[in-house]
Amino acid sequence: MKKYLFTLLAAFSLVFGAFANDPAYENAMKKQLTAMKTIQTAEQSQTVSNAFLRISEAKPEEWLPLYYAAYLHTMTAFRFVVNKDQYFDQAMELIKKADQISPNNSEIVALQGFVIMGKLSVDPMNRGQEMSPQAMQLFGKAIALDKENPRATTLMAQMQLGMAQFFGQGPEKACGLARVGLELYAKEESKVNEEYLLPTWGKEQAQGVANSCQ
């Protein structure tokens, strides 16, 4: 009987969860997504990332706040002078939490690969062996989960460009993939409106890889 009740409860909450918009949540998210665009220092990044973590605390069933907090940690490690390994490790911790909320999510898997790529870049000679196939595998999985995810395709292109450069091969393959990424970004942009909370980043990266062929 108890079990039955639980199932019923769970079903209800699912139904309501799907339909019930939470304006407070959406407004809070929108505010931080706007703030995210103006980050210039590691401190500002921390402030926005903390705000996402607060949203996550209040809405533990949402994966997006954790995703953005992890993304900000990752970008901080790439952009600013910080202890890179520490930031990548913290990003990974947050990604794992997001993954538990929303398993087999192409965006989360792609971000995970991005973090591995970051860790690899800290010490490529020694980490290449273990991490380059790991990153490749994650990007491959992210593409398989959602062929329309431009970030998965773009990151894969970026990884391939790095490999091609290391071995002195042409960048053509990577460029081709990056162009596919750019098309996917165009498609994505048509969907984006004021209410859009899902990830949209990465177009410049795709452009960067595509440019390497000119």
Binding site: A24, E43, Q46, A51, R54, A58, Q86, Q90, M125, P133
Partner: protein, 719 residues
Amino acid sequence: MNIRLLLFFYLFLAQSLAFGQTLISGKVLDEKNQALPGVNVFIKGSFDGASTNAQGEFQFETSEEGIQLLVFSMMGFKSLEQVVTLESSTLEIQPIVLAEEFNELNTVTISAGAMEASDEKKSVILRPLDIVTTPSAMGDIMGAFQTLPGTSTVGNDGRLFVRGGDASEVGIYIDGLRVGNAYGTTAGNVPTRTRFNPNLFKGTFFSTGGYSAEYGQALSSALALNTKDLSRRSQGDLSIMSIGGGYSHTLANENQSLTASANYFNLAPYQQLIKQEIDFDLAPYGWDLELAAQKKTGKNGLLKVMARTESGGMNLWSPLPGTDRRVMVSLINDYSYAQANWRTTLNKGWSIFTGASISKNLDKLGFDSLQIERRNDLAHFKASAIKDFSDRFSAKFGVEHFLHPYSEKLVKQGWVRDFKDQETYLFTEWDYYFTKAFVLRGGLRAGTSSVAEEQWVDPRISLAYQLPKQGQISLAAGRFHQLPMDNFRVLNTNLQNSESKHLLLNYLLSKEGITFRAEAFYKSYDNLVTFEGSLENPVSLKNQGEGFAKGLDFFFRDRQTFKNTDYWVTYSFVDSKRQFNQYQTQVQPSFAPKHNLSVVVKHFIVPLKSQLGASFAFNDGYTYTDPNLDNSEMSSKTKSFQNLSLSWSYLPKPNLIIHLACTNVLGRDNVFGYSFSPKANTEGIFESIPQGQVAPRFLFLGIFLTLSKDKNANQLNNL
């Protein structure tokens, strides 16, 4: 009472009271009372909150009312929750202190005696890749470890000798399980190699003394090899070498992987091209088959299985000193090893490990007309559990059981002698972090042997302290027991454990790309085996020997100063004397040269897609007994040992590597000792033959190709 319940009642009662906005402000400090920026401060269950600024201050408005939980959280720190009552327009919080969590990155690690090769840990001396790229190592794990402090190179043996101890004093483990006969059997002065391919392992832990209570039956050193976890992708690896070839195939998905491999080598074609000093009747040959599988179990578990079987041998002519005669020495070795282990983490800070391994070794030896069969088996069962009581206090408990039958048989005569030992061990080890900069580890290991009818307990202790400015010091001490070698025990099953006590003091400085390590040690030896007669035919064996080893070693590694260049320099000084084997007095053993130097340099040339490597090893010579002198016991010394090796690895394509290496490029005629005729000749002189190298140089050419559907598969793994 549950805080939520309390809250609920309060809110229920206080509901009628109305509040406006409250401005909360305060300051967060770290344990040293320094401002802590970036701390997330918020009202639990609401979106209201802020981050602390550079001064550690925060301030935010909230419309929440009544009793609330104010949370202070930051990654790497322990979160703090404080009950606040929101009833006025401002609320000033007293300064809050957040404590940093203890984790692997911010706490000191015990470094006395320990050298790790891993990609993950911070106290790394050697990386797994270094094992395959050290020129003098020729892809052998032990060859790479011979460039580390505390070891000495014994060129006609090939095994690992640590700080005045002989090679049998190093215990070798794979995934925590003991490996019997880890080295290939060899004959004459032909150096041996480890049976296991370095590509099997993701990391190694090499201790030159004072090691953990988890390991025993090794007077000098423990070497723990950890196998790789799940393979990432399916691929085939083909190797074609000047001495043979092999193929390995891996099938992998997200939850499991399987690798099967087969290798064959035969030195005959190589030896026809390049003249050897040793007269081989049948050049060394061998084949092996290996299977390794990994499988994820549940959320955190990993099951690993490995099995290997191999066979090989050689025949060579061994000259007899003082005569024109020579005798045929022949060897056939059959070896199998299998193991399975499973580890997982459970709730409440528990993690467990269980495993079993079995090694079976059969040597068929011929010396002239004498035919000997030697069987040596080892089964090991182990279970251990770790409990983390907190982030600063953990304990490990374990139990082990060994079955160890050994037999020797004279084939023609049909004479057999043997023993079957059973050993059981219990061990426990406790780690306590007083502060992030000070850790203490205490351990206890108890054992019993059925054949020796002996019980013993070994205490171990170590500590590490992070110095305020740079570097850390670490101290280790302990007692270690080891049963004598099987060929002695089979002659006298009453032989008891030999015993050694270690004391080590270590200094370690590791900064971005640079590592400096210095260690001083003292070891005592008791109850070593002594006998009368010769090593080949010992009589009246007793536990009556004793001795000591003391010394100092230095290690410097720099991956930073020169672009694309990595080099390390090692110097080890060992002063060791012991009464053991046939020696009547305490002597310096032949395997313990006093001064040992090793230099390894690797340089990557990007436009040539090549890595060049050079390694140089030196020691001041090996002691030996010259019966032509008075008081001759180990009083003579060979000339110094020197070996310069070079290697070149070329990566024309991501999936192809070509590797060329040459040892002893300068062709120095190294001598490791002399064998003397048992009788003086007519002029009263004992004639001798130098024990030298198999050949002045060894040349190796290998082509390694990776085949995979995934076009990005590459040989970086094997570089």
